[in-house]
Structures are given as structure tokens and as C-alpha cells.
Amino acid sequence: MSDFRFAVNVLPKPGILDPQGRAVELSLPHLNVTNVSKVRIGRRAELTVTAVSEAEARTVVDELAKELLSNPLIEVYAVELLEATSSTRTGAAS
């Protein structure tokens, strides 16, 4: 078994109104920033999956990303593998 550390990055779908992104854009003049546009605000989750393979781990992450971490009606997500380490489980048969 190995531990796979993933990041799931969730963003509003293109074309969907993002009030938070809009609010950030509206605040830019207060920072004297004039060359920034198209701000989109999302969320990021990091999690570790213990599995026999990266493929198996990704299946779990995909399911979580689709059902819980994002709402496919309004958001898109991207899964990023951060780290893979073999886990040393006491008593576990190798």
C-alpha cells in the first residue's frame, strides 16, 4: 500500500457568475492594481488516499471531487498528485 497525497482544485465553470471573483476585481483599484482581470475564486482541498496504486487512489479522489468537493452543475475540478509514499503499516502483510 502507498499513500497518495492529492490536491483537488475547484473553480466556478467558465461563464458562471462568480460574485467573489467580481468583488475581488472591484477591490483592485483600491490597491492601485490596473492590469489584473478575469479573477475566479474557487477552493482547494488536499487529502491523502491509501491505496495499492495511483489509479485506484485517483478513482477515489475523482468520486469525492464529483460528489462532495465540487458541484458539477456550476464548478469544474482538477486533481493534482502532490506526493506518493509507501506506507509502513505495522502488522500488515506485504
Binding site: 460574485p19 468583488a23 462532495l68 452543475l73
Partner: protein
């Protein structure tokens, strides 16, 4: 007759909903989120509040709670389920009603009395409404109704839009920034039902206008509608 109200950790309109049911003359039954057993009730209300702290997205964690297994089975059997505010968010995240409740367009938490117009009076959730605008409170940060254009067209065509935010004369504006629209909801939608018509959600709180001492009892039109429908359904079982 007994009608259940689910309490999730973070629900805050459960007691108001139980009270409104008592005002309507039915036995209110408190249902706990950890049990899928609906105790044989004739209808279910998912109340307002902040289930599971609204973490990740409002309603999504509640979707996976044991009680929602019972609610889903109850809805599939034709039982009436009404989601109010956070309860609407739970139903939408559970895909039991169409659409999504997004962050209010203003980014502000909206807490005020609004006018909503029932879009049909022959639905199980509006049958006791008098057809005039209903004035009841909203209190939410994520109430901006969204669905893609094709879905919105389909909902309108099939009579699944039950309530719209409206002006005093009952008309509404499709401009999401119109003053009569408190949160930017597309096509001023305040409440919808599923295709079968037995599961509905709305953002405003009918249970908070259930007695004159609370201001008015205008919200009772919707509570009574649910009670009448539940009684009719119970009679057919």
C-alpha cells in the same frame, strides 16, 4: 396526522417548523439526522439553518447523512417533502430538486421580508394559497437560484417553477438586479419542485410567518398546502 421535521446539526428553523405544523393542527414529529427512520410520518420538512456549518457548500454534507437515505426513499415512494431555505439547499445538493443555490449576487447575507408569487395554485405545495403575493422573510447568504438556460426553459414549460420573487402587484422581473429580486436568482425563481411534483424547495421562510404574533400568518398558506397534500396522500396508502 403526523408530519416530520428533520434536525441536522446546525438547523435553526426546526422548532419554528414544528410550531407551524402544530398551528396547522397536525402532530409535529422531530426527526434526527442520524437515523434514516422517518417514524411513519405523512410528510417531511427539511428546515432552515446551517446544516453541518454549511461547510464545503451549503447542504452538501447533509446530503450524505443517514436521515437523507430515509427522505430519498420516502420521496421516491411519492411522499411530500418540503425544503425551506437550508432545506432547499440540501434538496438541491441531493439532486432531489433541480438547480443550485449559489452565493447571493450581492455577496451580502440577505435578511428581510420579501414578496413571492405562487406561479400555480394547483400544486401540492400551493393548493391552499390565495393567489396573492405572500410576504415572508428570507435569511440566507446562498440563495441565488441557478440552472442552465435549457433547464430553466424546461422547468417553466413543465410547471416546476412554484414561486418567484415579485413586486406588490405580483409581477416579476427577469433582471437579476431588479429590487424585487433579493439575491440575483435567475428568472426571479424563489422555489421549484421536482418533475414528479412531490418534492419542493423554496428559500423564503413560511414557518416564520405562521401566527399573527410573529407579524402575520401569511406563511401558513404554504404550511396548510403541505398538510392538505399529506392528508390526501395518506388517504391513498
Amino acid at each position: 396526522m403526523r408530519i416530520g421535521v428533520v434536525t441536522f446539526p446546525g438547523s435553526n428553523s426546526d422548532v419554528d417548523s414544528l410550531n407551524a405544523l402544530a398551528v396547522a393542527g397536525v402532530d409535529p414529529v422531530s426527526l434526527w439526522h442520524e437515523s434514516p427512520d422517518l417514524q411513519g410520518v405523512s410528510a417531511v420538512i427539511l428546515p432552515g439553518g446551517f446544516a453541518y456549518g454549511d461547510y464545503v457548500r451549503a447542504g452538501v454534507i447533509a446530503r450524505f447523512s443517514p436521515v437523507m437515505k430515509g427522505v430519498k426513499a420516502f420521496a421516491e415512494a411519492g411522499g411530500y417533502v418540503l425544503g425551506i431555505c437550508n432545506g432547499f439547499q440540501v434538496l438541491a445538493e441531493s439532486r432531489l430538486v433541480p438547480g443550485v443555490l449559489m452565493r447571493n449576487r450581492s455577496l451580502r447575507f440577505a435578511s428581510k421580508i420579501v414578496a413571492i408569487a405562487p406561479q400555480r395554485l394547483d400544486s401540492p405545495f400551493t393548493r391552499a394559497a390565495n393567489g396573492r403575493p405572500i410576504h415572508i422573510p428570507i435569511a440566507h447568504g446562498e440563495g441565488c437560484y441557478y440552472a442552465d438556460e435549457a433547464t430553466l426553459d424546461q422547468l417553466e414549460r413543465d410547471g416546476q417553477v412554484l414561486f418567484r420573487y415579485c413586486r406588490e402587484d405580483g409581477t416579476y422581473s427577469t433582471d437579476p438586479d431588479d429590487p424585487s429580486n433579493p439575491n440575483g436568482s435567475l428568472r426571479a425563481i424563489a422555489g421549484v419542485c421536482n418533475a414528479a411534483g412531490n418534492v419542493a424547495g423554496l428559500m423564503p421562510h413560511p414557518e416564520r410567518m405562521a401566527e399573527p404574533i410573529l407579524g402575520t400568518d401569511e406563511g401558513m398558506q404554504l404550511i396548510r398546502s403541505l398538510v392538505e397534500s399529506a392528508a390526501a396522500w395518506e388517504a391513498t396508502r
